[in-house]
């Protein structure tokens, strides 16, 4: 137990003597320097341990032998210890990071650094206002001087701007302090009575607080800070962004009890405004460090807002929210600044170089995820609880500002991430140099943030190991990553099996049904991934993470558990999509839309009434009367995930650009998560029907999705894009059927979901096989593959028959059920549109099979072989499945009937092979035989007539005359349905895509517009500060 005042004493003594020590060599001074910094960390860590674990009460340290108002006193409690632990630790690690610099540089830099850290300790602990001013100046002056640790024109001018801005702020602070003394006769925070600030006495408190607030870099009075972040040495920047900010935010926290409520409200709003605009302006930023600067400033705004708005909450919540934002932001920011110092690339577009250094890339990714508030990092929990709190307080504008700001942040952070993973390696290419000290600090910080994440999950929320599983999967497979891919694939298969075993006894059959889609479907699809060669780093980890989070969705018992699994699913699928060769843009679109959806869901869950039972959410929700706003928000969130019209534009990109054995997961299974969510909303809805018939509109959206998806699919040249749009269209059917809210409707939705899982998996895997052999996805470059890949052909044939809904396969049953349910409900127009959509789907299905497998074999495909065995196995399994439920539909209809029977009274009678609804009956078995009969007769005739057929030699047509420049475009399959497109006229324009494109452009131009205020002129920045003070004063109004 060491008196914390020794931190100040020792740092000062060492600081004073360091230049003497240096006379006997830098080694000695470095030893002293690092020992003192380490000493600080240990002292505070010891106290932190005492406060948190042993429950020691707050420590007050008097100086000069007098007690508080007479002398200056310091205070160390749990909050101070927490902040200081971080500040000192960051200080130490940043110093380690800078060790090379400190070895070479003037001794003064060590002195300045040491005293800077001392200043932070003093600033946090002191309870005296004027003493705060002194420590603030110590902190500022040492920082000013250290901004030129790497001395160049930029850092000098940034440093100067920083100085004059800091100078103005501290002048106001000083003025505030003395007027506080004038009005209260006291300088000690513990003895100042806020009620002494009557009337114009408030000006004193205003001056004091606005000065601190300016130091917190509010928008728009923060241009100087951005320049500093951009130009100063990364190590020092991390100190400014983390250590200094932590101390100043704590000063703000300390003076908060003095502030009147209306001023606090203004600061809260100002914080949110800062958060919003910083992130908006970050959109346009191309310089890595300046971007971090924007993000840093924004996060500080958020932190201020969170402190202000949580002030009346229980302690535990404050720790979670404020502590969460605090640690999350500071750790991630320091780590990212350090990485910019390692990578040494100013422009974000050059960050493709990072992929040559996998370890650094992982660190970068983790920190970036942490910064974006993705689980399990502290920022996620903080955001979740904070939004909940704000929503309960009905502060919807604040919520909107925060979430929209976060979305902007997601855009630029993930754009950066995708560039790092997929971007081009810059041509002039100095390798990333290895410096142990820099890696060391960064790694420690990543470790700490992960530890905190686990602590939060374990101790704040008491999650069990099942919720951890997605994370465990990634970690375990990270350590097994050296094993060859095939073995990992088998292990994953086993893991999924075991997981399914533990998951199995479900509380309801609906869960079981989706469990089969999610888990069994995934397991079969894993077989296709066994075809992978080599090591495939990271693939199985994230695959398992995704599969486990599917399962966790089913058994989630609370909104948070559900949302957690949902976010795990999103992030893992994002990483999987990003693995695709050209998936940079696709994955970015995916994560942006997913996050937007997730935010809507977050608001929705926050508004939802508390659960009353301890069952899984999907069951418990039936007793919950969700307000209409919640239903709408949740429904939009889920529909984004299922690719409904309007928010579908991520879907084709993601499906097409993902690796070909990942696409089946995305399409056949991931989309069903959205469907599952819609069912959840529906279950609450049917038990508490609100006045506004939301599902009527969802029904329309589903129907339109179905038809638009079908049309778009017909116009694709790329086989995977075609299948992607087909998925969109099919899920449109499902959504529309759910929206019917009747027994038959839900039955068809479930039936189609199951069906779609099977045939879309089979189709995507078949195309994966084709792509694997031909290396092209462009259909008109293929043809005649039927002879080379007959099994794949059969698989596609069965698949498309199942999709199209012609007899005899299962798709027919699905269509029959859907039309029946629509007609039963009286949605005739919708039924008509759907019918038309299935006609359109013939177009693309025909195109798919015709172009790839029929016609002439291309010259370059003469030596193509059948798809590898690992692709064929799952296809066969799915084909058997499709055939089975086609022949014996009651294999599936029977159980589905009982599942839906839990929600609606049954409207069909299942009798043997015959299924009767109010509109007629369907006998799958009989249809199968009849169709086969119809098929066999012409077959026999054709076989008999076979002698008369004549084979045409390949390229007959092309060589008959002049050879066109690109012969492939003369192929019939090229732009096959151009005439239909023409017929569509104006309807064929990509309006929705254009809409989002324009939105994006607008956001970026706004970003460009707003950031014009940062003219780079130091004087303008001062003007901003003065105007800011004046404006806030007038808003406050005395």
């Amino acid at each position: 137990m060491v008196n914390p005042i020794y931190i100040i004493i020792l740092s000062l003594a060492a600081g004073f003597l360091l230049s003497i020590f240096d006379k006997s060599g830098r080694k000695l001074s470095l030893i002293v320097f690092y020992s003192v910094l380490t000493f600080n960390v240990f002292v505070i860590a010891d106290w932190f341990y005492r406060f948190t674990v042993l429950g020691v009460s707050t420590l007050t340290i008097n100086t000069a032998g007098f007690s508080a108002p007479l002398s200056i006193n310091l205070q160390l409690g749990i909050q101070e210890a927490f902040v200081l632990l971080f500040a000192n630790l960051t200080g130490l690690l940043a110093a380690i990071y800078l060790i090379k610099k400190f070895k070479e540089s003037n001794i003064s830099s060590l002195v300045l650094y040491l005293i800077l850290i001392m200043g932070v300790n003093g600033l946090v602990m002191t309870r005296d206002l004027f003493n705060m001013f002194v420590f603030l100046e110590i902190l500022s002056i040492s920082t000013f001087a250290l901004t030129i640790l790497t001395k160049n024109k930029k850092s000098l001018s940034a440093g100067f701007k920083y100085m004059i801005a800091g100078g103005v702020a501290s002048t106001f602070f000083l003025l505030g302090v003395v007027f506080v003394y004038y009005f209260t006769g006291n300088l000690n925070l513990d003895f100042i009575n806020p009620s002494d600030f009557t009337n114009y006495g408030l000006i004193a408190i205003f001056l004091l607080s606005i000065a601190v607030f300016i130091e917190l870099k509010p928008f728009p009075a923060n241009g100087w800070a951005l320049d500093v972040y951009e130009s100063v040495n990364s190590g020092i920047t991390s100190v400014i962004a983390v250590v200094n900010s932590a101390a100043i935010i704590f000063v703000f926290y300390k003076i908060m009890p003095l502030l009147p409520q209306n001023l606090l409200n203004i600061f809260g709003i100002a914080g949110v405004v800062t958060f919003f605009f910083s992130n908006l302006m970050g959109l346009k930023q191309t310089n890595a460090k300046r971007l971090l600067g924007y993000s840093s400033i924004g996060q500080m705004g958020l932190l201020v807002a969170s402190i202000i708005y949580t002030i009346h909450s229980p302690n535990k919540l404050i720790y979670l929210i404020v502590g969460g934002f605090f640690t999350n932001h500071l750790i991630a920011k320091a780590g990212l600044f350090w990485i910019t110092g390692i990578v040494k690339k100013e422009k974000i577009k050059d960050w493709g170089i990072l992929k040559e250094n996998k370890f650094l890339l992982i660190l970068f990714g983790l920190l970036l995820f942490a910064l974006s508030g993705i689980p399990p990092f502290p920022g996620f929990w903080a955001k979740w609880e904070f939004i909940k709190l704000l929503v309960h307080g009905k502060m919807f504008f604040v919520v909107g500002g925060i979430l929209l700001g976060s979305l902007f942040e997601i855009v630029f952070l993930f754009r950066w991430f995708t560039i790092a993973v997929k971007g081009e390696v810059p041509s002039e290419n100095p390798k990333i140099s290895f410096e142990f000290s820099k890696y060391f600090s960064t790694t420690i910080f990543v470790g700490i943030t992960l530890t905190i994440s686990v602590v939060i999950m374990k101790y704040f929320y008491d999650f069990n190991w099942f919720q951890f599983l997605p994370l465990i999967a990634v970690v375990v497979l990270y350590f097994l990553d050296f094993i060859p891919s095939k073995i990992k694939g088998f292990l994953s298969l086993i893991a999924v099996g075991i997981y399914g075993y533990f998951l199995y006894p479900f509380e309801s059959n609906l869960q079981l049904f989706f469990g089969i889609i999610f888990i069994v479907g995934s397991a079969i699809n894993i077989i296709a991934t066994l075809n992978r060669k080599n090591i495939n780093k990271g693939f199985y980890g994230f695959l398992l993470m995704m599969i486990f989070s599917f399962g966790n969705l089913l058994i989630a018992k609370s909104y948070l558990e559900f949302f957690l699994a949902w976010e795990f699913m999103t992030i893992s699928s994002f990483v999987l999509i990003l693995r695709g060769k050209k998936a940079q843009k696709a994955s970015l679109l995916y994560i942006i839309f997913s996050t937007a959806g997730a935010y809507l869901m977050m608001i929705g869950f926050s508004l939802a009434p508390n659960l009353t039972s301890n069952s899984a959410l999907i069951i418990a929700i039936s007793n919950i009367n969700l307000p209409i706003l919640v239903t709408v928000l949740l429904a939009i969130g889920f529909m984004i995930k299922s690719g409904s019209l309007g928010v579908h534009i991520w879907l084709p990109e993601a499906h097409a650009e993902a690796e070909s054995d990942v696409s089946p997961f995305i399409s056949a299974i991931l989309l069903k998560a959205g469907v599952f969510g819609l069912f959840m909303v529906g279950i609450s809805y049917i038990n508490h029907v609100p006045a506004f018939d939301m599902f009527y509109w969802i029904g329309w959206i589903g129907v339109l999705t179905a038809i638009v998806g079908a049309f778009l699919a017909s116009f694709q040249e790329d086989a995977k894009r075609l299948l992607a749009y087909s998925s969109m269209s099919q899920v449109g059917y499902i959504v529309a059927s759910i929206a019917i809210l009747s027994h038959l409707g839900w039955l068809s939705a479930l039936y189609l979901s199951f069906n779609h899982m099977m045939f879309k998996s089979a189709l995507f895997i078949a195309i994966a096989g084709v792509y694997y052999r031909t290396h092209t996805r462009t259909m008109y470059e293929m043809g005649g593959l039927i002879k080379k890949m007959p099994l794949s052909f059969i698989s596609v044939l069965i698949g498309i028959i199942a999709v199209s809904g012609v007899p005899p396969l299962s798709g027919f049953g699905a269509k029959w059920l859907i039309y029946s349910s629509f007609i039963e409900r009286g949605w005739y127009l919708q039924a008509g549109v759907l019918f038309f959509a299935s006609a359109v789907s013939f177009l693309y299905l025909y195109r798919l099979i015709h172009t790839i497998f029929l016609g002439q074999l291309k010259y370059e495909h003469q030596n193509v072989k059948e798809a590898p065995i690992w692709f064929l196995i799952p296809q066969v399994i799915f084909m058997v499945g499709i055939m089975a439920i086609s022949m014996y539909p009651n294999l599936i209809i029977q159980p589905l009937n009982s599942i839906v029977g839990n929600y609606f009274n049954s409207s069909i009678i299942v009798d043997g092979y015959n299924i009767t609804s109010s509109l007629g009956n369907w006998n799958g078995n009989m249809i199968m035989f009849v169709t086969m009969g119809i098929f066999v007769v012409p077959l026999i005739i054709l076989v008999l007539l076979n002698g008369r057929t004549q084979t045409v030699k390949q390229f007959n047509i092309v060589y008959a005359a002049e050879r066109p420049e690109s012969p492939q475009t003369t192929h019939i399959a090229y732009n096959m349905f151009a005439h239909y497109r023409k017929a569509l006229g104006g309807w064929g324009k990509p309006r929705i895509w254009n809409f989002w494109h324009e939105t994006n452009e607008w956001a970026h131009s706004l970003s460009g517009l707003f950031r014009q205020i940062y003219t780079g002129n130091g004087q303008t920045y001062i003007l901003h500060i003065i105007l800011y003070i004046v404006v806030i004063y007038f808003i406050m109004g005395v």
Binding site: I9, A64, S142, I203
Partner: protein, 225 residues
């Protein structure tokens, strides 16, 4: 133009912010409770004539330590920023009057400085004032002799050790468990004499030395430019 208007607007705004502070200002009739305690305590507890000094060195000693640190930081920062150059700059040689006067005055000025910081607890003055005065002596030297070079080692030793001793005196209080920077760790002496008020004169002397050497250092560094 827009900028000019904005500046005027900003200044007007600031004026309005400050106006109530001026118009409503009234002088207090009595010392605040805290100030009264200081006035009494300076005599009763610390045995020091100069109340301001008592407040600075003892009651708010931590501030003063910080203040010393700030000055020290500025020295370090300036040293860090302006690297010394040894190139001879062509400067005009000082006039004879200045040269003669300075050789005569320097010792006196230093003496005055020493007097002021050792009597900080008795008279208006103290370590900072004394230190500044000492530095002016060296400024005079610099002005009168363009090639004047100070012995940096001595400056540095004085600067470092005076600071370190200051801290050590503070620690003694801690060790004796009477509080960091307590000035009553040595006998308080007789009121109104040089050796009174405990460690106050010692601390002020150390501050004087430190400030003097630091400012000299700054002057010397800046001259190099």
């Amino acid at each position: 133009m827009i900028k000019k208007i904005l500046i005027i607007f900003a200044m007007l705004g600031l004026f309005i912010v400050f106006l109530p502070l001026i118009t409503n200002f009234e002088f207090s009739q009595n010392l605040s409770e805290l100030a009264s305690k200081y006035v009494r305590g300076s005599v009763d507890e610390l045995n020091s004539q100069n109340v301001v000094t008592s407040v600075i060195v003892t009651y708010r000693g931590l501030d003063t330590l910080g203040e010393v640190t700030v000055l020290f930081l500025a020295t370090a920062g300036i040293g860090f920023l302006l690297k010394k150059k040894n190139k001879k700059s062509k400067k005009r040689v000082a006039s004879e009057i200045l040269q003669t006067a300075s050789s005569f005055l320097v010792a006196l000025i230093v003496l005055l400085g020493v007097y002021i910081f050792t009597h900080g607890h008795l008279t208006p003055g103290g370590g900072f004032q004394g230190g500044v005065i000492i530095a002016t002596a060296f400024l005079l030297l610099l002005l009168s002799d363009v090639n004047m070079k100070f012995n940096h080692t001595i400056l540095q030793v004085v600067e470092s050790f005076s600071g370190a001793f200051y801290v050590v005196i503070g620690i003694i209080g801690l060790v004796l468990t009477v509080g960091f920077l307590n000035s009553k760790i040595i006998p308080l002496g007789e009121y109104g004499t040089l050796f009174s008020a405990g460690t106050i004169p010692i601390i002020y002397s150390l501050i004087g030395l430190k400030v003097g050497s630091e400012l000299t250092n700054i002057l010397d560094t800046m001259r190099g430019e």
